[in-house]
């Protein structure tokens, strides 16, 4: 996924939830970002700030927790954390994770491939307004 696409989807998820609860303002947004998404948290924050302009979530504090890539090897059955290279040209050379224990690529990704909108803090509309 791309940072811009991710930002747009996060924004629409947040704004939808804010609308449902008649939020007056979204103060804070909390996101979990897996390493395998290869999205840079600073870039994601930048794009989110852009797409949230002029909405109830403009200026919200954006909190991103980065989650490591965890793989389970189908050969040696070990579960391990794999470092994802910070490679600006991943568009040209996709990264194929291997099992650090035995080196094979027959692995299952068990964590760190998702981007989850976890929660937000809102100010609700007051009745007397």
């Amino acid at each position: 996924m791309h940072d811009v696409t991710a930002a747009q989807r996060i924004a629409s998820t947040v704004l939808h939830a804010a609308h449902e609860r008649q939020a007056r303002r979204v103060e804070q947004i909390s996101i979990a970002l897996g390493a395998m998404t290869m999205i840079d948290p600073d870039q994601l924050t930048f794009w989110l700030e852009q797409v949230l302009r002029g909405t109830v979530a403009e200026g919200a504090e954006i909190e991103i927790e980065q989650l490591p890539l965890i793989v389970r090897c189908t050969r040696c059955d070990s579960e391990s954390e794999v470092a994802v290279p910070d490679d600006p040209i991943y568009h040209l050379m996709p990264f194929a994770p291997a099992c650090p224990a035995c080196g094979c690529e027959e692995i299952e990704i068990v964590g760190g491939d998702a981007c989850v909108v976890r929660s937000m803090r809102i100010t609700e509309a007051s009745d007397d307004e």
């Binding site: 996924m1 791309h2 696409t5 991710a6 989807r9 996060i10 998820t13 947040v14 939830a17 609860r21 008649q22 103060e27 804070q28 998404t37 568009h91 040209l92 050379m93 996709p94 194929a96 491939d113 998702a114 981007c115 989850v116 909108v117 976890r118 929660s119 937000m120 803090r121 809102i122 100010t123 609700e124 509309a125 007051s126 009745d127 007397d128 307004e129």
Partner: protein, 234 residues
């Protein structure tokens, strides 16, 4: 809103929406919609210039007497491809992604809403020319057809493992230029199979209408089958 909640006090709301799950949910929903209308859909993927539009024109020419076909052409801009495919006498919907390098489930859903699905039994979708990003965005088709051409050099399969693994059928196109490009078609086909064991590989020269019938057979659309390729694995 109860009075216990003071108006200016922040309240924490749990959302827990996984964006990657949403991506595949959108695709699944498109697939359900297509199935409900008895439409078989093919996603055609390949780099810019690999011959997607030429190949789709060939498929349409060979199949339009047997199937009621519609085509969705995805491009960043222009409707050149749509006009080229329309020459074959089938309805074409051009999607301009306006910069996005892939189609996604949401864009395709909107396109499906504009088609009369009951009058169609085969839908061919030309994805944006790119072999990296579409791999992360399933759009909800029965078959993903991957097009590699010899003019892209000998390393296309090994350089795009994620896409190759997701494809159901791979086409090696521009076979007529293999010698000039010094690309060994058999070697390239083996590379595809080693990245994705079991994948069907077909060689074509779409511009000269060669190999189209083999491709139609690999897609399960050869007509010996009872269905439009969707219900049985023939």
């Amino acid at each position: 809103m109860t009075d216990a909640n003071a108006p200016d006090q922040g309240r924490d709301i749990i959302i827990d929406v996984d964006l990657s799950k949403r991506t595949s949910e959108l695709a699944d929903r498109n697939l359900d919609l297509l199935d409900a209308h008895g439409v078989t859909a093919i996603d055609v993927l390949g780099s810019v210039g690999s011959g997607k539009t030429t190949l789709i024109k060939g498929l349409v020419r060979h199949l339009k007497d047997r199937y009621s076909i519609a085509v969705i052409a995805g491009d960043i801009t222009t409707r050149i491809d749509a006009d080229r495919i329309e020459e074959e006498g089938v309805p074409v919907l051009q999607i301009q992604t306006g910069g996005a390098c892939h189609l996604d489930g949401e864009i395709v859903r909107r396109a499906l809403e504009r088609l009369d699905l009951d009058s169609i039994d085969l839908l061919i979708i030309e994805n944006v020319g790119n072999l990296i990003c579409p791999a992360a965005f399933p759009i909800g088709t029965h078959t993903r057809l991957l097009l590699l051409s010899v003019t892209e050099g000998p390393y296309m399969a090994v350089k795009h493992p994620v896409m190759v693994r997701q494809a159901d059928v791979a086409v090696i196109n521009k076979a007529d230029l293999a010698d000039a490009m010094e690309v060994d078609v058999a070697k390239l086909s083996d590379d595809v199979r080693s990245v994705h064991p079991g994948i069907k590989v077909v060689t074509t020269a779409a511009r000269f209408d060669e190999g189209i019938d083999d491709l139609i057979e690999a897609l399960g659309l050869s007509g010996d089958c009872c269905c439009a390729g969707g219900c049985c694995d023939a």
